[in-house]
């Protein structure tokens, strides 16, 4: 039930991304998505350089603000650039053992649905594996695959498909 509410609110929050909404109260649900301009969440008390004080999760200039990594068709290979993003998250998680994330694996619409569920899971597990290697505890990461069921782009072309072949890093913030 909690996960469901969480997912729903993540979906809702993804709808308003880019809207530069007025400062909103970070709660366990909306903290999942980085939103430039949202108020600093002081709960973790961490600070980064560069003049941003507060949790680096909320620093728009931190690599932690990047929460999606992308894949080639029928591939679960993480690109070198995305490895740096994953590495930044892994470092943060290793330093904050009470923080948990969900890695959501997704695919584009092409091919068979159940194969895509398995492919989405393999993508999420590829990201999970990199994080575990950096000392993140197993219990901090939950993997869920939605296959092709939750596209972010609805076109039937490579531009949309590229955006849909992804793993989302969702902070549950508890």
């Amino acid at each position: 039930m909690r996960i469901r509410n969480f997912l729903i609110s993540v979906l809702m929050s993804s709808l308003i991304i880019g809207c530069q909404s007025s400062p909103q109260k970070p709660d366990s649900a909306t903290a999942g998505k980085s939103q430039a301009g949202s108020t600093a969440d002081q709960r973790f008390g961490a600070t980064t350089g560069g003049g941003f004080s507060g949790d680096p999760l909320n620093d728009p200039n931190s690599p932690l603000s990047q929460r999606v990594v992308y894949f080639d068709f029928d591939s679960s290979e993480v690109s070198t650039a995305d490895r740096n993003i994953i590495s930044a998250h892994a470092e943060y998680l290793a330093n904050h053992p009470n923080v948990a994330i969900i890695l959501e694996g997704h695919t584009d619409e092409r091919g068979s649905r159940e194969y895509n569920i398995a492919l989405g899971e393999r993508r999420a597990r590829a990201v999970q594996q990199l994080m575990l290697l950096q000392g993140v505890a197993q219990k901090q990461i939950q993997v869920i695959s939605f296959g092709e069921e939750r596209p972010v782009a609805l076109g039937h072309n490579e531009a949309s498909w590229h955006l849909n072949r992804r793993v989302e890093i969702l902070y549950s913030g508890n």
């Binding site: 039930m1 068979s112 569920i117 398995a118 695959s145 039937h156």
Partner: protein
């Protein structure tokens, strides 16, 4: 060879009374060499309009099979009347080979009788004839039974018109909220009934061999879990909720076991769950993706999708009594994507999603000669399922940005789309023959 010419004939547009879902059936490709058959409008003597157009339902059924070409009403003049002798020389002169004449009579409050005769015009004889009692709510079913009798008489094969399909519909409301419906309907798409609804994804409906239950994947608790639901009582039971994937359910031919995909041991592997003892037997052992198991009709082997060779392909694995399995053998070699096997009822053919330069199509592999035939040419086809007589394949396609259901005969000659007016329709699966009627 697929014909280039595509005739779009809207056969009929009706509002299904029970659900008010509008449905059109487009014959997207007519068939050369289909047997012409005259189906005369059924005689009806009631005061009001006839409760169903029996002849139109039969004509639509026979047409969908691709084996018959029902003649337009204008070619059946003067209309033969039920109970009158048929003027064989007249119809013979018009090169009509077969004719169906029938009547619909009301015998009492909600009691009807459908009678028909099938004639061979050339021979001047009746081939078959029946009288079937029915009710208003069963008249479509009765018409499908007549279609089955005609089909069986003329082709020697059992008809599959009086059967059902299950599928998933996704409806988005005005506020953008999605609702996933698991539905069943008659094989022609009418009489839709929603048997399960969830705001979260529903996937992979699979019929039990007796046609009384559906297994499916539901994300209703936030992640994929497997349920088996009774169609009659609507009671659903959760049968698999291991960590990770609980996906791709497939009832064994004896209905006692469920093949499924789990990732509890590290990555997606195929298992067999005994539904009585809950004993779990692991079938595959490979770092690659293994999923989408389908049973051979003898229950002694599975065909599944694996990318162990670098791209998704179909493999076959024999199951032995001890639980130790032989090494899976690769079945498909054409193209870099062959997935989601559906096995024909007699185990002679395997339908699948096949990728070529133009996209993802439905293809069928003949297991005897290993010849692969691509049956469809839309860019995003998936989820093939055989009719219980093995003659047709229903599958999911895409048209004008919406998921639609489509059918193709296994020889690739007859094509049609079932277009539901509401929502995205996907993952059709054809029921078995419901009983031994």
């Amino acid at each position: 060879m697929l014909r280039k010419l595509k005739l779009i004939i809207v056969l009929f547009l009706l509002i299904a009374a029970q659900t008010r879902a509008e449905l059109t059936i487009d014959i997207t490709q007519t068939v050369e060499g289909a047997t012409p058959i005259a189906i005369a409008p059924f005689t009806w003597s009631g005061q009001q309009a006839a409760p169903e157009n029996i002849a139109a339902i039969i004509a639509a059924d026979l047409s969908r099979s691709g084996r018959f070409e029902p003649l337009p009403k204008a070619d059946i003049q003067p209309l033969p009347q039920w109970g009158q002798p048929l003027e064989f020389p007249l119809w013979r002169a018009r090169k009509i080979q077969y004719m169906v004449v029938g009547s619909l009579q009301r015998r009492g409050p909600d009691q009807y009788v459908v009678q028909f005769q099938l004639f061979d015009i050339k021979l001047g004889t009746q081939l078959t004839g029946y009288s079937i009692t029915s009710q208003v709510s069963h008249l479509r079913k009765t018409a499908h039974q007549v279609s089955d009798l005609i089909y069986q008489t003329l082709t020697g094969e059992r008809g599959a018109f009086d059967t059902h399909i299950a599928y998933v519909t996704v409806v988005t409301d005005r506020s953008g909220r999605k609702s996933y419906n698991l539905s069943i309907a008659d094989a022609d798409g009418f009489n839709e009934q929603i048997i399960y609804t969830s705001p979260q994804p529903i996937l992979s409906p699979s019929w039990s061999p007796d046609g009384r239950q559906l297994a499916y994947v539901s994300y209703t608790r936030g992640r994929p879990e497997l349920y088996i639901q009774s169609i009659q009582t609507r009671i659903a039971k959760r049968v698999s909720d291991f960590p990770g994937l609980n996906n791709a359910p497939a009832f064994s031919p004896d209905g006692k076991r469920l093949a499924l995909t789990l990732s509890k041991d590290g990555n997606s592997e195929i298992y067999i769950l005994d539904l009585q003892t809950h004993h779990l037997q692991r079938v595959t052992h490979n770092y690659a993706i293994d999923t989408e198991p389908a049973w051979m009709p003898d229950g002694r082997s599975l065909i599944f999708t694996s990318d162990r060779g670098g791209s998704p392909q179909l493999y076959r694995v024999d199951l032995d009594q001890s639980g130790r399995n032989n090494q899976p053998r690769r079945l498909t070699f054409e193209g870099n994507y062959n997935a989601r096997a559906a096995i024909s009822p007699k185990g002679t053919h395997v339908a699948m999603v096949n990728r070529n330069a133009k996209g993802f199509h439905i293809a069928v592999l003949d297991l005897q000669n290993h010849y692969l035939t691509v049956l469809t040419d839309n860019p995003l086809d998936e989820s093939p399922s055989f009719s219980p007589n093995g003659q047709m394949i229903i599958y999911a396609s895409e048209s004008a940005g919406k998921g639609v259901l489509a059918e193709v005969s296994i020889d690739g000659r007859a094509h049609q789309r079932l277009r539901f007016q509401r929502g995205d329709v996907r993952e059709p699966t054809w029921s078995p023959f419901m009983n031994s009627n």
